[in-house]
């Protein structure tokens, strides 16, 4: 399952981050590593980007980035 598909509020765990290295590396550096808990907080009014909580802080991602993040339900 992709993070993109978790549009409702809920907790998931990161499985893997895919895609081009520079963007993937940035996402990983921001703390999106295997096994980390993500809480989907809200979606921006126009449907994109989304706000997630990870490692105790709030991060905003676009659909394209959320699509790179493979997650599993907790």
């Amino acid at each position: 399952m992709k993070l993109l598909d978790c549009r409702g509020n809920g907790k998931v765990r990161v499985v893997y981050v895919e895609g081009e290295r520079s963007i993937r590396k940035r996402l990983i550096d921001m703390g999106i590593t295997t096994g980390t808990e993500i809480i989907v907080r809200r979606i921006a009014p126009m449907g994109d980007p989304m706000e997630i909580e990870i490692r105790g802080y709030e991060l905003s991602l676009r659909k394209e980035e959320a699509e790179r993040i493979e997650v599993e339900p907790e």
């Binding site: 993937r24 990983i28 096994g35 009014p45 980007p49 706000e51 490692r55």
Partner: protein
């Protein structure tokens, strides 16, 4: 005296600049959005017999090389060899902040970690065992509040007392891989002061280092094998995830030992965002906030403040003139002084409004709302080929294009940055306001506020249209991302807001006293003398009239093909504030009040609107152009940009004039 260089490093929004200001006593610009420090800044302070140069590096999340900020910071540490490092971390967000600390520790430089936001930690009921944290990380740790200054004395003390280098020791498996790499690169000449950093970066597959070391194919092969072993041992598919996992795992272990959170509740910020980023209310509220900002600044309140300054200037000016008359001062000098008073004075009277505008922008930045605005607007801005983060530079552009263009560094993608630099000057800056205020006051006396607001809206509309155009023609493929931290909401500090406003006011006063004063004097000279250097009361015989008349015809399609307007616009390239003062000098010999009487005889309503339109859109002032040159690193790009902007201004002004003729 001992001289030391200290690098101040930390995540974006961790309070670096606040601490910098605390320690050095300077007034750098501080905000609450990630990426405020856009270039490195230096300041000096003293401690006992030490003279310490503190270098405020841009905020970074990691020491890789995927963004400009990371490159700037890494280059500084690797090439300039600072003696010590202060690593400032946000105590409310230790986990992610320590990720950078781990990498800094690899550098093997003496380092002190400052855990910031002491006050906020206490508020949230979070306790951090500072001593334990220091022992676990093998580095001195000091709890501080950069905002109140608490703990900063101890920080400096510990920094100067603990000058031994140290590194952090990872788990056994990781250390084994690092040792293998060290052995591998031993024969290659490299800077061994940062030994562990090299090892770790090579394990991380940092392309830059691998290239720098000029490794042989066999060595590459061996490095690859070590990386693969490392991944396998950690049960990860690739090296990036494996190494980040190692660091975060080490951090997680330390955090569990040293940090105690109260039972989980939803944060205040999250609850505020339920309203401010609400699906239905978010965008309307954003526009209400923007509208309030403009209404207060340019509405009755701002106008009232402005009238107070005007009274003061008029009083000083008339008393000086009266004194000169009674003292029988040479009439040419009298004329010059009058011109200067009215030229500089007309610009100075806008200071309260410009300060108000910066007050709002400063509060928006400090509170954390700026990042939310970017979050709300991203989807909309993307449609015109811009990134939501571009919203931050653009909003600052309403104050001044210079910080706006500088702030375009928050965008990692080169095309995003260039696009933002091109479009930011369309956000009407504070210095253009006097032009609208003057013309709107004369031609739309009843709806002056509305007319001014319309100019701001026109700027935004033109940015959107040009964005579309550029996206379809020049900037076609964009690998842009929107990975943005939304910092917790914070109360703006009075000290910081006041400092920010004072900084702007000071800049404005200096500009009025230097560039604008000089322009006014030069313009007066060019207006008062003929080509044969005879003093003349008739400006149409002057030098400037000769130059202006030669080029004024170009603007006939825009409806203001008179030499006075054209020269005023040219002087606006030096500083936009000079447009009004130049008009006053050229049309009336320096009397702003007479200007409102004379303007209706020169401009029609539609040519006045065309003139405002041109002022709104044409090339930004020389300071902004220089900033653009510096930020883009390309003179060709800068030249193309100002030609594009001036072209857009010309065409739009001509269209406005044409449409105006239909009514």
């Amino acid at each position: 005296m001992k001289r030391e260089t200290v690098a101040l490093v930390g995540n974006p929004n961790s309070g670096k600049t606040t601490l910098f200001n605390r320690l050095t006593g300077s007034k750098q610009h501080v905000g609450n959005w990630p990426g405020v420090t856009i270039e490195k800044k230096e300041g000096v302070f003293h401690y006992e017999e030490h003279e310490i140069t503190l270098v405020d590096l841009p905020g970074i999340y990691s020491l890789s090389t995927y963004s400009m900020e990371e490159v700037v910071s890494r280059d500084f540490i690797m090439n300039e060899h600072p003696d010590l490092i202060i690593d400032i971390v946000d105590g409310t967000n230790l986990e992610r902040n320590l990720y950078l600390s781990m990498q800094l520790k690899e550098l093997g430089l003496p380092m002190v970690i400052a855990v910031n936001m002491l006050d906020e930690l206490a508020q949230k009921g979070i306790t951090v065992d500072i001593d334990r944290l220091g022992r676990e990380l093998n580095t001195p740790v000091v709890a501080i509040s950069a905002k109140s200054g608490e703990g900063t004395q101890k920080l400096v003390h510990d920094l100067m007392e603990n000058t031994y280098p140290s590194t952090f020791t990872y788990d056994e498996g990781t250390e084994k891989c690092l040792a293998e790499i060290r052995e591998l690169i031993q024969p290659i000449e490299h800077d061994t002061t940062h030994e562990k950093f090299y090892d770790a970066k090579l394990l991380e597959d940092d392309v830059l280092f691998a290239r720098q070391l000029k490794m042989s194919p066999a060595q590459y092969q061996r490095l690859y094998e070590i990386q693969q072993e490392f991944c396998a041992a950690r049960g990860q598919k690739d090296i990036d995830m494996a190494i980040a996992d190692t660091r975060y795992e080490a951090i997680g272990r330390i955090i569990r030992e040293c940090v105690h959170h109260p039972a989980e509740t939803r944060s205040m910020s999250d609850r505020i965002d339920d309203i401010l980023c609400n699906k239905y209310l978010g965008i309307p509220m954003f526009f209400v906030i923007l509208f309030t900002m403009f209404a207060v600044t340019f509405g009755p309140f701002g106008e009232w403040l402005k009238s107070l300054i005007e009274i003061l200037i008029t009083w000083i000016s008339s008393s000086t003139v009266a004194w000169m008359v009674s003292a029988n001062v040479n009439p040419v000098v009298q004329d010059l002084v009058k011109t200067v008073f009215s030229g500089v004075g007309s610009v100075l009277s806008f200071m309260p409004q410009i300060m108000l505008l910066f007050l709002f922008l400063s509060v928006m930045e400090d509170s954390g709302y700026m990042s939310r605005a970017a979050f709300l607007m991203d989807a909309m801005l993307r449609k015109i080929g811009l990134n939501g983060k571009a919203f931050i530079p653009m909003l600052m552009g309403f104050g001044c294009s210079v910080p706006g263009i500088m702030a375009s560094r928050v965008l990692e993608n080169d095309e995003d940055r260039k696009m933002t630099m091109i479009l930011t000057p369309f956000m009407s800056c504070g210095a253009k306001l006097p032009v609208y205020a003057l013309l709107a006051g004369v031609f739309f006396p009843k709806q002056a506020g509305l007319a001014i607001f319309a100019m701001y809206v026109l700027g935004i509309v033109m940015a959107i249209l040009c964005g579309f155009l550029l996206k379809k023609t020049v900037f076609k493929n964009s690998g842009s991302t929107f990975i943005l931290e939304l910092p917790p909401y914070r109360w703006p500090s009075l000290r910081n807001t006041a400092a920010h406003m004072w900084e702007k006011a000071k800049g404005f006063l200096i500009k009025a006293g230097t560039i604008i004063l000089m322009c006014t004097v030069v313009l007066w000279a060019l207006t008062s003398f003929t080509f044969t250097l005879q003093y003349t009361e008739d400006a149409s015989l002057s030098i400037i009239a000769g130059i202006g008349k030669a080029i004024a015809w170009i603007f006939i399609p825009c409806g203001f093909g008179h030499w006075q307007s054209v020269i005023s616009l040219i002087s606006g390239f030096i500083a936009k504030e000079s447009v009004v003062s130049s008009m006053a000098v050229l049309y009336t010999g320096g009397d702003v009040n007479a200007l409102s009487v004379i303007l209706p005889t020169i401009f029609s309503t539609r040519s006045a609107v065309a003139f405002m339109t041109f002022t709104l859109l044409y090339s930004p002032c020389v300071a902004a152009v220089a900033t653009m040159r510096k930020e883009s690193g390309s003179a060709a790009f800068t030249l193309k940009t100002i030609l594009f902007q001036t072209g857009v201004a010309y065409v739009t002004a001509a269209v406005v004039y044409l449409i105006g003729g239909l009514f």
